[in-house]
């Protein structure tokens, strides 16, 4: 991303003219985004409270969008963007992802963003009517990969994953759940989807695939031990102790 141009144009043109004008006119951009660089923008991104496009009758841009435009202006290097995406702060991560989706190369986008499919931290999203809703990092990333327009931004066309797999030798995506799914593959319709409806309500009722390789030895899904083990396998942070 050292190149000055993304997709043959100035990167700021990736945000529509109308939205861009609104961003330039908005107070947050004028006040907080002045003279930011790749390092100081981190402070602003950490302070973010939500992601979102524009909202309200006057289509006021969110701070997220302002910072995105600023990032497009700064055009940080690919390594720096990688640092953003790997950071501990979820809104900085989201910003980095969105930026990479806008200016990155297709295979790079797929590989980098798909790594965040395993990140299920909550994100607050500001809807166009000004209300808030909850989304998750994995959903956010999925929207970035699947949708054409997201958060008032036209996402540049990238080839479908399978064409890249066929033509450019991109490895097929491997989900962390693939092992489990193949185990219950035959009964997927019967077992997994009825569960999904009851999952939100009770932890006990949720029946999940029994840890791939040795189902007999694995602890029952009811116990905390099961979850800790599973998370360890997936390489995720340990579960916080439930309130007692």
């Amino acid at each position: 991303m050292t190149e000055e141009y993304a997709h043959g144009t100035n990167p700021i043109f990736l945000i529509d003219k109308i939205v861009r004008t609104k961003i330039y006119a908005c107070v947050y951009y004028k006040e907080k985004c002045f003279a930011l660089d790749a390092k100081t923008i981190i402070d602003k991104a950490v302070e973010l409270k939500c992601i979102g496009g524009t909202c309200g009758g006057s289509k006021k841009p969110t701070a997220f969008l302002c910072l995105l435009l600023k990032l497009l202006k700064i055009s940080p290097e690919r390594e720096i963007v990688q640092k953003y995406i790997e950071s501990n702060y979820k809104y900085l991560r989201a910003l980095g992802c969105m930026y990479l989706r806008l200016v990155g190369k297709p295979d790079d986008i797929y590989l980098t963003l798909e790594s965040l499919y395993n990140d299920y931290c909550k994100l607050r999203i500001k809807l166009p009517d000004g209300s808030f809703s909850t989304t998750y990092m994995d959903e956010f990333v999925d929207d970035l990969l699947v949708k054409d327009i997201y958060l008032e931004t036209v996402l540049p066309k990238i080839p479908k994953r399978h064409t890249l797999e066929d033509n450019e030798g991109l490895e097929p995506r491997v989900s962390v759940l693939d092992g489990e799914l193949t185990f219950v593959d035959g009964d997927l319709e019967e077992e997994q989807f009825p569960d999904s409806s009851s999952i939100g309500r009770s932890k006990k009722k949720a029946k999940l695939g029994e840890g791939g390789q040795n189902p007999q030895k694995a602890p029952a899904p009811e116990s905390d031990e099961y979850w800790i083990n599973l998370r360890k396998q997936l390489g995720l942070a340990p579960v916080k102790e439930p309130n007692k």
């Binding site: 973010l48 702060y89 931290c121 909550k122 998750y136 994995d138 399978h162 999952i199």
Partner: protein
């Protein structure tokens, strides 16, 4: 006739108040009635000068007499223009108070004004208080609303992704989402593979087999409506490009499958008519009728082989036109 009118013819003397005119004496002599008037006048003058109240009348009674004894109380507002002796000759008998000077800030008007001002000030103060209260109340309401919003927004989670985001419940939800995503990708892949398979299978078929299959599927030429040959000089309708949307089975609605050029009333074979009657539809008998009937009638090409140009020359000419240079070159 009175004295005045008698004197009319003479030179009029100047009238001076208090002095009787020259004709007055004559008039007195002439009219006795006027005597009474004179006496009354006399009396009135005497009373005005020598007015005195008898000493035996009690003082209180005198006070009650309205005309004779006007009550003179020294009020602040009263202003005396004339000396009292001149104005009220009888006042020597009434009790007169000495007019005293009242300083400006002790006068009744002044006090009244002060009271009025105070009242106004109080009212203004009250209005101000009400406004202040309103202001503070709105401030409180706004502050409450902001607080509520903030609490609503930031109640549940912390901005940096901490362990609080990664609870077991969230993990289950994520798992559902991930499985759905995997399923979606899988379905897409299956559909794609199915399409490719179908395509390859059809490519492998012979032409005859493919035609037969089309017949079965109903998406070949045979499915199209049979067109009637149009009559001599029949009006032609183009199908147009609109209303060509097909349903999910790839078929047009019946109404759009109809033949637009089927002859209707008024369309008959005009070749049987004499030449003079061979006019375009609706043209016959009109002033503006056209002599042109149909395009082939106007074609001036000489189809006689005698007059055909040489094929070689034609080809040479044609090769000069665009797009013919690499006509027979198949290599890249």
């Amino acid at each position: 006739m009175d004295a005045y009118h008698k004197e009319k013819g003479k030179k009029v003397e100047r009238y001076r108040p208090g002095k009787a005119p020259a004709w007055a004496a004559e008039a007195e002599e002439e009219k006795d009635d006027n005597k009474n008037f004179k006496t009354i006048q006399k009396v009135s003058t005497t009373t005005s000068i020598n007015f005195s109240i008898p000493s035996q009348i009690p003082k209180a009674l005198i006070d009650t007499l309205p005309q004779a004894t006007p009550i003179l109380k020294p009020t602040i507002s009263e202003t005396r223009l004339y000396p009292e002796e001149e104005y009220t000759p009888q006042s020597s008998q009434t009790i007169r108070t000495k007019p005293t000077f009242v300083s400006k800030n002790k006068r009744a008007t002044h006090i009244e004004r002060e009271i009025r001002e105070q009242e106004q000030e109080e009212i203004l103060k009250q209005l101000k208080d009400i406004q202040e209260e309103k202001k503070t109340r709105t401030k409180v309401i706004v502050a409450e609303a902001i607080l509520k919003e903030e609490i609503g927004n930031i109640s549940d989670d912390i901005e940096s992704s901490s362990d609080e985001d990664y609870t077991a419940e969230e993990f289950i939800l994520w798992k559902v989402r991930e499985i759905k995503r995997i399923m979606r990708d899988k379905e897409e892949k299956e559909k794609r593979e199915k399409d490719i398979k179908e395509m390859e299978r059809r490519r492998a078929l012979s032409d005859w087999e493919r035609r037969e299959e089309d017949k079965v599927l109903g998406n070949d030429e045979s499915a199209k409506p049979v067109k009637q040959k149009i009559l001599y000089m029949q009006k032609y309708y183009n199908k147009g490009i609109f209303y060509q949307e097909r349903d999910e089975h790839g078929k047009l609605p019946e109404i759009f499958m109809r033949d637009y050029n089927a002859p209707v009333e008024g369309d008959f074979d005009k070749s049987t008519l004499p030449k003079i009657l061979q006019k375009r539809r609706g043209d016959f008998g009109k002033k503006g009728q056209s002599k042109y009937t149909h395009l082939t009638n106007e074609d001036t090409t000489n189809f006689d082989p005698m007059y055909m140009p040489e094929a070689e020359l034609m080809m040479k000419q044609q090769m000069k036109c665009a797009g013919y240079k690499s006509m027979n070159k198949f290599d890249a």
